[in-house]
Each structure stands twice: as C-alpha cells, then as structure tokens.
C-alpha cells in the first residue's frame, strides 16, 4: 500500500480507510484507531532498526514523548504578552479575544523563555547531526490555557521567529496540568505561580518565569542551565535547619551528615535529563565542544557544607560542569559571568537579584523558603 504524502495531508486517502469500516470488529473504541494512524504516518517509508518513526509534513522527524526531553512552555513566558494581559484584566475575556484576533498578524515579541527555547533547538540540531535516528531530543510543547481563538496569532508568531514548535495544547481555560502529564513533561515553565505549584505537587519539575526589562546576551550555540542547590536540586531539609536554628547549627548538621546523601529536589530529574544528553556528545568525542553546560550556584561553602552537595551529586551519578560555592555571597555577579539561559532558585530574593543583573531567573516555589517569602512580602507591604 503506497501513500502519496500530498494526498494524506490534504485528506484524500486512497486505500487507507480512516472510517470505521476499517477493522473487522464492530464494537468501536478510538484507541484502536491509533494503529491505523501509524500506518498512515510515514511520508517517506524509511528503513529503521525495528522502531516505527513518526513523521509530519516535510518528512521531519518527530520524537515520541517518552523518549524526548519534553519542555512545556506557556505563551506568556515564550512571548511577551503584557499588552494583551492588560486588556484581559481591564476589559474581560471577550474583549481580550477580539483584540487578539484583530492583531493576529502581529507576531508577539520574545519573552523570558525565548532564548532558552532557541538554545534547546540549537542542541537538537547538533544531536540530529550525530544521531539522525534518535528520538532523544528536546521536544518543546506550547501549553497554554488560552482559547483557540488566539491560536492563529500564536502560530503566526512561531512562524515569524522560526521556532520549531509543532505540538501545542490550547485548553480554552481548563487546567493544563493533566496535559503536562500526558506529554510526559520533564520541565514546565509558566508565568502563573499557582500552575507551577500544582505541577510541582504532581511531581513535574516546574518554575515561574518573570518578564524583565534588562536581559543580557546569551550564547546561541551552547545551552547553559544553572541551578541553586537546596530546595532545587536537593530537598529543603538543610534549609529547614538553617531557618529554624541558624547558620551555626546548619554547618554542624551538614558536617555531621556529610556522608548521608541529601534527598532529591524538584529539578533533579531535569538535571539528569540534561546529563543523559551530554553523555551522547561525550560518546562522540565532543566533551570540550559540548553544546550543553550545567552549573551549580549555591550559597554553600566549598570547604564545608558544599562537600555534602558534591557527594550527593556524585552518588546520583550526575555530573555538573561547574559548581560555584558562594559561601553566602550574592549570586547576581556570578550569574552575570556565567550567562545561563535560565537559572533556577527557590528564593525570590535571589531570583530578583539575578534579574537585576540581566540573568533570566526562574522561581521554583518549593520548600520552606516559600513560607519565608510570604512573610517577607507581607512585611514589605506594611
């Protein structure tokens, strides 16, 4: 059975029965149709070692969610939508949608997650060169609770910026969290802290992003991801000690427990996913030239409390390219030197500090620091 790709895309299918008369059985379930669809998928049948590849128009290769490192981004962090947000808040949803449709052919400008997404695509290019058949790639999915009315503008914008995003969910107001799971999301970035918290509680690595006016230039060829240690890569157990009993007790506790591994934090899995991709470059002799670089930027000290962090990472089999122990010094200047595409921290104080110096910082609303954040905010308001 040969399928002309043009015909498949335009809906004219000869030979392939999409209708219900296809199978012998009469009781229908949609899941069975999946297999029918697979047969129709390949635009150019290509011999692959055992595995059926999924292709879309243009014969571009597309990964299965379980094999890819899926990064889900909301429209508000991928693009700048402040003007539209204002319309929504002041004039309501109907006016907001009317406004969006009116400006449909005006692409949005890049948002805080944009450079990060571009860097992911650069890594994909390199991965495809080395491993053309592999599905171990970054897969970027737009997950937004916008209505489909905004869809055309979003698609036009993606086209305009030449982004490689073919998958999206526009939920028209319902929670996107279920879809994150369906896409086997490895990292979720959103402007909505509540959604981020919900994702974290479902075990999905997530962080809140903010739009900042000052953004320093970042590399277009090497993806750089920086992580805070406690309550991001590691659990917040040590931070709890510090908050409850102070710095001395913290040091004592860390020293006493130096050989006990820290528990994992919400972003550990994402670091792991990055590590797996890094190893693919190393396997092809590209360690020095690796387009992914990871950083640990922690307030811990190298000589003391940092040891436990390093031992934990080693025990987990995770390599981190650079570990920066600041011993409590401000993170902003260090981050400005590193120029990561994204920096994850559980404390808004550090996120804001980083942003002031032009680093794109994302807040991970996890652990004991959140209660502290809340207290700080309310005292500031007084």
């Amino acid at each position: 059975m040969s399928l002309d790709p043009v015909q498949v895309m335009s809906g004219q299918v000869k030979g392939l029965k999409v209708g219900p008369s296809s199978n012998g059985d009469s009781r229908g379930s949609w899941e069975e149709k999946e297999d029918q669809d697979n047969v129709g998928l390949a635009t150019k049948p290509k011999p692959v070692t055992g595995r059926r590849t999924r292709k879309v128009e243009g014969g571009v290769f597309f990964p299965k969610p379980e094999n890819a490192v899926t990064v889900a981004v909301s429209s508000r962090v991928l693009f700048r939508t402040e003007r539209e947000q204002k319309v929504f808040e002041q004039d309501g949803v109907e006016e907001y949608l009317r406004f969006q449709i009116e400006h449909e052919n005006e692409p949005f400008t890049p948002g805080p997650a944009f450079p990060f997404v571009k860097a992911l695509e650069a890594v994909n290019c390199r991965l495809r060169e080395l491993y053309p058949q592999s599905e171990e790639l970054f897969d970027i999915v737009l997950v937004t609770y916008n209505h489909a009315h905004v869809g055309i503008r979003l698609i036009n914008t993606i086209n305009h910026h030449n982004l490689f995003i073919e998958r999206f969910c526009m939920t028209g107001g319902s929670s996107p969290i279920g879809y994150l799971k369906a896409w086997q999301t490895n990292l979720y970035l959103s402007a909505d802290a509540d959604k981020v918290r919900e994702a974290l509680s479902e075990g999905i690595a997530a962080a809140t992003m903010f739009t900042s006016e000052k953004v320093t230039e970042v590399s277009e060829s090497q993806l750089r991801v920086a992580f805070d240690g406690d309550a991001v890569l590691f659990s917040d157990e040590s931070e709890r000690i510090f908050k409850a009993h102070g710095l001395d007790k913290f040091f004592e506790h860390e020293r006493d427990n130096e050989d006990t591994l820290l528990d994992h934090g919400p972003l550990k899995g994402f670091l792991e996913a990055l590590g797996k991709l890094q190893k693919k470059f190393y396997a092809k002799g590209q360690r020095l030239d690796c387009p992914i670089r990871t950083y640990l930027v922690t307030a811990r000290s190298a000589a003391s409390s940092g040891i436990r962090a390093l031992k934990t990472l080693r025990a987990w089999g995770l390599e981190i390219d650079e570990a920066l122990f600041l011993a409590g010094a401000p993170k902003g200047p260090m981050l400005e030197k590193i120029r990561p595409h994204i920096y994850f921290d559980d404390q808004m104080f550090h996120v804001e500090g980083a942003a002031e110096m032009g680093t794109v910082a994302a807040h991970v609303p996890y652990g004991i620091a959140q209660k502290h954040n809340a207290k700080q905010n309310s005292s500031v308001r007084k």
Partner: protein, 256 residues
C-alpha cells in the same frame, strides 16, 4: 419496514432548523432480560443526551423562541430491542429524556429511517453501523465507549482531514459533515466565551502547527470558532483523548 412514533410528551422541534441527532437505543438504554421491570438501565449515551438537553435548555434561556436546537431521535434496529419497544418508551419517560421520536426498523433498512428523519448526525457504538450510514451520506460518529463525565457537551473534531482539495467533488457524507459543523458553530455563537454548555475542540494528530493553523482558519471561515486546539504532531492520541473527555469524536469519513 420503518416506523416512526412521535413522543407526545416532548415539544416537537422545527424540522428545517433543528439539528437532528439520531442515537441507537442500544447505546442509550441497556435493556437486559425482561425481568418484569418496566424501566431499562441507562447506557453509555445517556450522559450525552443529558448534555444535549442542557444545551437546548440554555439556548432557550437565551432566546425562548430559539429554533436552532438539538432534536434527538432514537433508532431501534436491533430485533431484540424491537421487542422491548414499550420498555424503551417508558424508560425515556422515566428518565425524563427529551427524545422527540422513536424510529423502529429492521437491521437492513435502518439507514432508511435515518434519511427519512433528515438526520444530521448519527451516533452509535457500532463501527459497521456508522460505516453503513456514512456510505448513504449520513454524517456518523462513534460514541465514546467510556462514559464522559462533564456536564458540558464536548465535541472533538479530528481536523487532519478538514481541508479538501478542490479537485475532488465533495461526497454526500462530507457535505453532511460540513453542514453539521456549520450548525454547531452557529449554536456555539449563541453563548459567550465562559460558561458555555458546549465546547468545540480541534485535535490534529498528524501534521504540525501549520495543519492545525490551517484547520482553525478553515473552520473559522465556515463560521465555526473552536474553543480548544491540540496539535499532537504524531504523539499518541489516547492520553490526550482521555483528558478531553469528548462525548463524541468527529472524523471526516472519507470514502474510497
């Protein structure tokens, strides 16, 4: 032999304006062995009928003289069910279902009853029945085997086949599909963005963002504005479908 009985308990809809939805009685009622019980258990299509009814109620709330309403017709072609016709009718009454007429026919000529009743959409759990009806030019769809739980009527359209090249003349079934969609689009416009009793969902499984975008534009040009859109670009459909919880899934049946 085809016979139609009008349900006198229900106000009949305007023939040329209503959206006639035919459902097989097998899907609506689970009439087990006649154990003396007057009333049958409800089947998988029951929540769907409730959702259709809610849409009608809301339409009439917006405009008491609204004529663009769902008109539900029950098709019984199964000989076993035929014998239970009085139970079917009394079950309808018992559950307060707004079914305007009951059509009884044999298995061979049930399509005739669909055409006679000017059915715009035929819903069944049986693939073969759907195929047969399609071949006669009646837009058909398979019912969700798992009971959908949402109150809102959720209609999912698999948009991979929306665009038809102009070279091919439209088949009767495609025309039926298009006119059904136009009616749904008009119904949807009666409500605002929030708190609508029906939601129109576009799902493209194969093509990437371009084909989803083109589908959105094509549908909009036909007066159908989707509420939600999902582009899968080859990812498995089942996890997404189980979240979408559609009452039915519409695919353009393309005939060979």
């Amino acid at each position: 032999m085809v016979s139609t009985i009008q349900n006198t308990d229900v106000k009949q809809k305007e023939a040329d304006r209503a959206v006639v939805v035919a459902v097989t009685s097998r899907a609506v009622f689970d009439c087990g062995a006649d154990d003396g019980d007057e009333v049958c258990e409800v089947g998988v299509a029951f929540p769907l009928l409730q959702a259709l009814q809610r849409v009608n109620e809301r339409l009439l709330e917006e405009n008491p003289s609204e004529s663009l309403l769902f008109d539900v017709v029950l098709i019984t072609s199964d000989s076993q069910q035929q014998q239970q016709s009085s139970r079917i009718i009394s079950s309808t009454r018992h559950h307060g279902l707004e079914i305007s007429s009951f059509c009884f026919s044999s298995e061979e000529d049930f399509t005739e009853s669909l055409l006679k009743n000017n059915v715009h959409l035929f819903l069944t759990t049986d693939r073969d029945e759907a195929a047969q009806a399609s071949q006669k030019g009646v837009f058909s769809a398979l019912l969700n085997g798992k009971v959908a739980s949402s109150e809102q009527l959720r209609v999912v359209f698999c948009g991979d086949a929306v665009i038809r090249t102009d070279a091919e003349p439209p088949s009767a079934s495609q025309d039926a599909a298009q006119s059904f969609w136009a009616q749904l689009g008009e119904m949807r416009r009666r409500f605002g963005m929030l708190d609508s009793p029906l939601s129109l969902v576009l799902l493209t499984s194969r093509g990437g963002r371009e084909s989803c975008g083109t589908a959105l534009q094509t549908l909009r040009s036909r007066g159908v504005n989707m509420d939600e859109a999902y582009s899968l670009a080859g990812a498995p459909r089942s996890p997404i479908l189980s979240l979408l919880r559609p009452h039915f899934l519409l695919i353009n049946h393309l005939q060979d």
